[in-house]
Symmetry: C2
Subunit: 231 residues, 2 copies
């Protein structure tokens, strides 16, 4: 899964945002896209050269990523791309499920029609990508939908912890090169999800989200090193 290019849009911002941010995003992308595979050491000299910055701001970005949990700091040995085992992935997915279920329930109460319509639009986009079997585009919009539903709950802390886990899962979730049937079932679940949201049917949405994310584990488990064949 090298060279994915999951970076969002072009980087040609005019505004002078502190270099820190730019480095941070580049580094994060390098990890998520797999240019820096799990377990790889982050060589400050080399990466700094590659990005065209000195080690000082680079190290600051690395510390930020460490707190995000994408990278692990090892004393006197720098930073290493964090490796997630089977249990860790499952645990993260379980927390994501809890968060999304709660968010979904809240969204049914709090969301305005415009917000729900935005999700519906994303969903339609996703269907188009599915029709073309464009995995990358599908995947991106899929993420946006889940993030969007959480956002409808209007709770920043909730969005924050959810985003944190999503980021960690991005790498591992994408590699789920699930077969056609699994992919189709995922799409169906999304279909139901949106319907429940539009009906503001909280219990139903909660149920579907739970099912969807429990299946997410089944969809990726075979790609995780060390995952048991059966639980």
């Amino acid at each position: 899964m090298d060279h994915l290019d999951m970076s969002d849009q072009g980087e040609q911002r005019i505004e002078r945002l502190p270099l820190h941010e730019a480095i941070l995003n580049r580094l994060r992308d390098m990890i998520i896209e797999g240019h820096l595979p799990p377990g790889a050491r982050l060589n400050e000299g080399q990466i700094g050269l590659q990005l065209g910055v000195s080690r000082t701001p680079l190290r600051e970005a690395i510390k930020y990523l460490a707190s995000e949990g994408l990278v692990e700091l090892i004393p006197s040995r720098g930073a290493v791309v964090k490796t997630f085992g089977a249990k860790e992935v499952r645990d993260m997915l379980e927390v994501v499920r809890m968060l999304e279920q709660q968010a979904g329930a809240l969204a049914c109460q709090l969301a305005d029609d415009a917000g729900i319509a935005r999700i519906r639009n994303l969903h339609d986009d996703m269907l188009a990508h599915y029709a073309r079997r464009d995995r990358l585009a599908y995947y991106k919009v899929n993420q946006a939908i889940h993030t969007g539903i959480v956002a409808l709950a209007r709770n920043e802390a909730l969005s924050d912890v959810h985003a944190r886990l999503q980021t960690r899962l991005k790498r591992v979730r994408f590699i789920g090169h699930e077969g056609a049937e699994k992919w189709a079932s995922a799409v169906t679940e999304h279909e139901e999800m949106i319907a429940a949201l539009e009906a503001r049917d909280a219990p139903r949405l909660t149920e579907i989200l739970g099912r969807h994310l429990r299946l997410a584990w089944d969809r990726v488990r075979h790609d995780i090193p060390g995952a048991p064949e059966v639980d």
Copy 2:
């Protein structure tokens, strides 16, 4: 609430842990204990002098804290201690509640007797501190109990996001100089909590945790600037 000294035990470690960690903890304490009040700018020169380190590792620690959400980075203006408004605090408490409820339910299934016994011991300690009206000691053990219950769920990601929010709430939660009755009711709730945990009664534990954390908001709301008198 200045000069609280919520630092855990002595800092006289012999092992040579990377300076980064040491600075990080000192800084975090300065924020949590209120030496650096909300909104205060972190002057790198001054703090570096105070801690006896140069700006380079200090800045790295600040970036780490920024990702933790204790500090906000403002372009060309450095870092500022993050201020939490009423809604933000309430939102965070709501997420903490969800997390603890889920964790509690899981704990009822997964915890071993030894783990539950440890919580009971902490609880007894807390009662002792309550008897002596030792707010600081009480508060610390209180935190340890909540953290401990989450740990019983054996889900690192869950513990991780919970800890993240707890850290942000530490500052604001302690200032709740609640009156004797409120304090007493909190103790009673804890009493019930432990009982439900020992009985491994998940629904009951969930209910109590929900009540306890919903009341937590009522206990702190009057100390939050900008909190509405009624919802």
